[in-house]
């Protein structure tokens, strides 16, 4: 490890400690308002899209779902359409645009206002939730007529978005849980205690049923940290996504891309001679076939992590969309029969999503282990083929 643990731990601790300072609490949080119109809570997300105000319930729900699955610069639990209030808190916006621009996301006023920082003007595009630079305070985001994407300059956005905050919370939770579990062994003479003990069987399962059978007794140890971390990371964030905070982390392509590229890098950086031999000069087949197979195998190196990325993203993304659509149906039906039916359906689907949360974490870990296993496998071609 290049960076020693102590400073790293300190940096993360400081960072988490500073979070509340950087994000200025939304004053509206304090106002105690009883929200009587439940229907507006769900449909309220559309409020961000101030430019194209959807009027009917269906398009409001559609817009809300569209915004939910995207990342956001503030953390909104729910909002009130009638009064135009958002219940949640702001998050720090960090942009790299000719120097660091740091300000609170409250300046965007949930996408309705142009934020000014050191003479630069920024606005959130209501279609993709991303920050674009404006020419002036009165500037507008102009869209390319062919592609539909904005033509404005995008500063590199290092903001602590809702997703980043969720990752931090999940990481902190994991760190506390598993260090607690680790400490409990010493305290309790080798027997786990405390809240972390629920995860001990899962840790053992990953070791005995995922790592050892796929990688092999000889090499599995060096991959254990990665496999355990990725399993619990994906699992925790999947479960977070099912909680009523409106978090969607593992259904974000950037996140799954980052996870998949790590599996890709670890696989190819720890691969042995044998692995490369199987890709470029497949043993046990005729020479002509070897030349044909090489590009296919080479493509396979990239397809494997690509499939990891898409599988996790699509499963969680689709789960969120379907679940929220069915919840949205309640407000479309607005009848005791239809609404209670879609409530029952969404309840059953939520249970299914819990299964998917575990399953996708398992599959991601399992396939990563499988790829690592192929990278360190030691063949004896003459006997094997």
């Amino acid at each position: 490890m290049v960076i020693s643990n102590r400073p790293l731990r300190f940096i993360i601790a400081t960072f988490v400690a500073c979070l509340p300072l950087m994000s200025f609490a939304n004053p509206e949080v304090d106002s105690v308002k009883v929200n009587t119109e439940m229907a507006h809570e769900v449909t309220e997300g559309s409020h961000e899209g101030a430019h194209a105000e959807p009027t009917d319930v269906k398009s409001k729900i559609k817009a809300f779902i569209g915004h939910h699955v995207l990342d956001s610069h503030d953390f909104t639990f729910f909002s009130d359409e009638v009064e135009g209030k958002h219940y949640g808190f702001s998050l720090p916006v960090i942009l790299w645009d000719n120097g660091l621009q740091v300000f609170s996301s409250s300046r965007f006023e949930h996408g309705e206002a142009v934020a000014e920082s050191n003479g630069n003007f920024y606005q959130i595009n209501h279609h993709d939730g991303k920050v674009y630079k404006l020419d002036s305070a009165d500037g507008k985001i102009t869209e390319n007529e062919e592609t539909g994407y904005p033509t404005n300059i995008r500063p590199i956005d290092f903001s602590i978005t809702k997703t980043v905050l969720s990752i931090m919370i999940a990481s902190l939770l994991m760190f506390l849980l598993f260090t607690g579990l680790a400490k409990s062994y010493a305290k309790n003479k080798g027997i786990a205690s405390g809240p972390g003990r629920i995860f001990e069987p899962i840790v053992l399962y990953i070791r005995d049923e995922i790592a050892i059978p796929n990688i092999g007794e000889k090499h599995y140890k060096k991959y254990m940290s990665y496999l355990l971390t990725i399993f619990f990371f994906v699992l925790f964030l999947n479960i977070f996504g099912l909680m009523p905070f409106g978090i969607n982390v593992t259904g974000n392509l950037t996140i799954t891309f980052a996870l998949a590229i790590m599996t890709f890098l670890i696989t190819n950086l720890t691969a042995n001679k044998n692995y490369w031999g199987h890709i470029f000069w497949m043993p046990g087949v005729p020479k002509v076939m070897r030349i044909v197979l090489a590009p296919i195998e080479l493509l396979g190196i990239f397809i494997k992590p690509f499939s990891l990325m898409i599988r996790l993203y699509a499963n969680i993304f689709a789960g969120h969309i379907v679940l929220m659509s069915i919840i949205g149906l309640m407000f479309i039906f607005k009848s005791w029969l239809g609404s209670s039916l879609s409530f029952g359906l969404s309840f059953v689907l939520s249970i299914l999503e819990i299964l998917v949360a575990f399953l996708q974490a398992y599959i991601f870990t399992m396939l990563s282990a499988l790829y690592f296993g192929s990278a360190v496998e030691e063949h004896h071609h003459e006997e094997a083929h």
């Binding site: 490890m1 960076i3 643990n5 790293l8 731990r9 993360i12 990342d71 960090i94 993709d128 991303k130 592609t147 994407y149 590199i156 956005d157 290092f158 903001s159 602590i160 978005t161 997703t163 980043v164 990752i167 931090m168 990481s171 994991m174 760190f175 598993f178 260090t179 579990l181 680790a182 400490k183 062994y185 010493a186 080798g190 027997i191 786990a192 001990e200 840790v203 053992l204 070791r207 254990m224 940290s225 990665y226 355990l228 971390t229 990371f233 974000n252 392509l253 950037t254 996140i255 891309f257 980052a258 996870l259 790590m262």
Partner: protein
């Protein structure tokens, strides 16, 4: 596909990689290594405990077998000793019997011999007495003969009667 690529966010990617890699290393140092070590130790401990229990059981069995064997041996030894003792006893009885018989016979023999010799001695004495008596009778008779014939006869008869009584 174009939409997917458009979704990619460099800043988020940066944070995700930074936080995730940090998390891997932190957890490796503070959680996974101690947890896996502790679990391994525990498994080793259980394995060892089972093994030692098995060993103890075997040892116990061996010990029991040994005990059984020793008991068996002791029983056999006792039986042998008893048998020996019985044999010795019988032999002693038999020996003493024969000895006693021999001794008895010898004693009888001796007694017989003593009786014989006594008898002989008594006979010799009797013979001597008879001869002396006969001589004295003859002497007396001769003396009586010389004095009174009748008295002499009487005396002889009387004496003879005496002899018979003897």
């Amino acid at each position: 596909m174009d939409k997917l690529i458009h979704q990619f966010e460099l800043g988020l990617f940066f944070w995700q990689v930074l936080l995730f890699v940090g998390l891997i290393f932190l957890l490796k140092k503070f959680a996974w290594k101690p947890i896996l070590d502790a679990v391994n130790d525990r498994e080793e401990g259980i394995k060892n405990a089972l093994l030692s229990a098995e060993n103890a059981r075997k040892e116990m069995q061996n010990l029991q077998a040994d005990n059984q064997r020793i008991l068996q041996e002791a029983r056999m030894e006792r039986d042998n000793m008893l048998k020996d003792a019985r044999e010795i006893k019988e032999k002693m009885i038999a020996d003493s019997k024969t000895e006693a018989q021999a001794q008895g016979l010898q004693m009888i023999e001796q007694a017989k011999a003593a009786i014989e010799s006594e008898k002989n001695a008594a006979m010799a004495e009797l013979k001597l007495q008879v001869s002396t008596l006969s001589l004295s009778i003859a002497e007396k008779l001769l003396k009586e003969e010389l004095s009174n014939k009748e008295a002499q006869t009487k005396l002889v008869e009387k004496m003879l009667g005496d002899v018979k009584l003897n």
